[in-house]
Symmetry: C2
Subunit: 462 residues, 2 copies
């Protein structure tokens, strides 16, 4: 809309006696103002106000922890390179199998409920303002029932959120700067980046491509992408994602039992990321809470993003069992609740209505079909790279295919694929040093694009 319409409109005083002095133009007076700047007594420095083109610097120091971060967050960086490529080749038919963004429409059984909720907000009966920061009760109950039934997880252990990535940062705020963390290497970059931001780490060490004071748990084809816990040092927090992003591997029940025992023996807290659990084909746990005793050492974060195409709608959840206690016996859930209440105001009520629709019998059926579609994409990608003689991992239990290019730099391969096929992937090294030599190919895409991308891969690597 044009701002001039706004600036020129003022409320007619006839509409309400209270509007008489109420002019809703925002800045109609700003242009003519030139009050003399008053000098205030106790100011410690004297800066002469100057034209805004002269560079004025505040005296606020930049947060040294943020300065430690090496580059932009991975996915915006991938998007940046994609944009640069499009500029270079404006006519190229670029296909994105990069950032793991869902592409298929959300089933109508879900969107119709969101639309209904939106309409209801225009009615007296259907209007709702602030909801509980922890999420609406029926949704919390439905999540507990759908995903954690028989696991001893209750409705009030569930905290509904605007997504797992956001919850990871809120969890880091709960933990503070004095904890140590371990991550799978490679892993979803939000764990490491949020840890750096909170000041839990040392500086980035260029020679080893690692941050100081983070325990990187190497996950390689050789160890079946499950870390050798005998070589892992104790940390306060262990981030663990299964099925894994980016490797696509899923931990078995026996491996997760080992992990829980490891945490218990060390007094650590596992932050378990199960955002891809519904992509599991194998007979592995979908939740860490399937492992006996996990409630005392683990919390779990998950999301509707990759199940229902909610990457833009924004809805996730975190489970913090009451049994999970800090060393002084204080429940982690109580502090998480305080942070959620203070730093967040709940997920959008319309998104929450969508989440509840996802968990209805029809919604679940519809979600399964979308997930099934992406799993078919995964198979197509796996078969393509295998037919070209590549060693391929993942895919079976996750929407990510982890392709090995031994001895090569991930970013080089990323650039080669982009330059020669106009397909965007994600360089494995963006997920940590352990991802070097790999490229992640996402299975989120229209079928025609996936088939076309695979055709181009075959031309490039035949």
């Amino acid at each position: 809309m044009s701002s001039s319409s706004l600036l020129q409109t003022s409320i007619s005083s006839s509409s309400s006696a209270f509007f008489a002095n109420h002019n809703l133009t925002f800045n109609s007076r700003a242009r003519s103002v030139s009050l003399p700047a008053k000098h205030v007594g106790i100011c410690k420095c004297v800066a002469t106000p100057q034209a805004e083109k002269t560079e004025y610097k505040t005296q606020v120091s930049r947060n040294a922890n943020i300065a430690k971060l090496q580059a932009g967050y991975l996915f915006p960086e991938v998007a940046r390179r994609r944009a640069a490529h499009l500029k270079k080749y404006p006519d190229a038919q670029v296909i994105s199998l990069g950032i793991g963004d869902t592409t298929e429409p959300i089933p109508e059984v879900i969107t119709s409920v969101m639309a209904k909720r939106a309409h209801a907000l225009s009615t007296l009966e259907g209007y709702s303002g602030y909801g509980p920061e922890q999420g609406e009760k029926p949704l919390r109950a439905a999540i507990a029932s759908a995903f954690y039934d028989n696991l001893g997880i209750e409705e009030d252990d569930i905290f509904v959120s605007d997504g797992a990535k956001c919850d990871i940062s809120r969890l880091q705020v709960v933990f503070g700067s004095n904890v140590t963390i371990a991550v799978q290497d490679p892993s979803y970059p939000a764990y490491v980046d949020s840890s750096v931001i909170m000041g839990q780490t040392g500086q980035y060490q260029k020679d080893v491509e690692k941050f100081g004071n983070i325990e990187y748990m190497r996950c390689t084809p050789e160890n079946g992408f499950f870390p050798d816990l005998h070589t892992v040092s104790r940390t306060d927090i262990i981030f663990f994602c299964s099925p894994n992003n980016p490797t696509g591997s899923a931990a078995t029940r026996e491996q997760l039992t080992q992990l829980v025992q490891f945490a218990k023996d060390n007094g650590s807290i596992i932050v378990y990321d199960s955002a891809y659990a519904l992509y599991m084909s194998d007979d592995n746990p979908r939740s860490i809470f399937e492992i006996p005793g996990a409630k005392e050492v683990a919390l779990e974060t998950s999301s509707f993003s990759k199940y229902a195409g909610f990457t833009g709608v924004r809805l996730g959840w975190t489970v913090v069992p009451k049994q999970l206690l800090f060393s002084d016996g204080f429940p982690v859930a109580k502090d998480f609740n305080r942070i959620v209440s203070t730093c967040f105001n709940g997920a959008s009520n319309i998104s929450q209505a969508g989440g509840l629709a996802c968990l209805s019998p029809e919604g679940l059926k519809a979600m399964r079909e979308v997930i099934g579609f992406y799993k078919e994409n995964t198979e197509i990608i796996v078969e393509t790279f295998e037919s070209l003689g590549f060693k391929v991992y993942g895919g079976k239990n996750a929407p990510y295919v982890w392709v090995h290019f031994p001895g090569r730099s991930s970013w080089d391969v990323f650039s080669e694929i982009l330059e020669k096929t106009h397909v965007v992937t994600t360089p494995g090294s963006g997920f940590g040093f352990g991802g070097e030599g790999f490229v992640r190919v996402s299975a989120f895409g229209h079928r025609s694009n996936v088939l076309e991308a695979c055709k181009r891969f075959k031309q490039l690597y035949k």
Copy 2:
């Protein structure tokens, strides 16, 4: 939905070859599992796994900064007391003029666009996944144009968010633990609480009811609710809310010019909260950027919550001008962008569609009407308390009425009003020591409730 339906459903393998091994039940196997717990070599402590009823504690220390917080976040605490009151008087007709929650339906011109966007997500053309973390381009442009036209604020200075409260926390993450802050006293509690959480403060000092290392800028009837800057010590960050929550007072152009000069002389950054700007009746600035030079020392956060009834829909924005620099010359906007990208994934696309509808000519007109309605409520509340002989502040430029009960404890008055009239208010001292002796009465309510509440106030205080 019943979990058993989920557990019993598996995908028919006929629907897709890839579904053959794909069983989407989540935890059907969890109940029969009892694998022996493996003991892992390097564990540093040996804890015998026991039944979960025995209290196991991790060895992770509780974040000492969070432990500094004195009580629950104010508004959940008010909600808790309201719930307790309802339990005590199950038949009472409780009226809430407490937490500042909007009550009037959202105009259809706005919800119909959100519903349309929701429906479109079920179509190939209308589907969208991850959007830019900073917000959709048309919305950023519309905000820049509607609120900051002619002020030199550009589209890419606008960061769309899920609300001002959430942005305040993200800003605190940007600033980190080594900054000092100043707040108006009284003020919206999220500033102080988020500062405590980030470790910027000392302990709570019970005798003075303040946290160490925070500069409390006293705002009283005597100074017209604008701090005497001659007595204010330099801090890195100055939180400043105008029109103010809770006092309802708005700073004049001259006062804000003083504030900007004060920040410039001290090299401070002003975090300006303008969430109530559209409630302004007087001829005061709606944005800090109306003050010349403010872009070098200020950022501004605002919200659709109180304009369009979006408290549950969740949509806000923060303006970080490119001209705002840390002491080393690094742009604050770049670090905020990094935090937004790493800790957030953008506001819901449906909410953003609603925001854009708010800024259409019809949307603006509809918003003005809702705001006008609440302003009428404000007048009714002001007149009521004035007729009872109370000194009343605020109201004219904000949806909050700040009622003085000299010499009395705010929580006592809160309890008295709740007990005797079944009306929920907010105790002034919940906003800081400077709010002691005041009660904030919110003008958000159905007209009938506001009238009924005022009738009861008249009975109580006649």
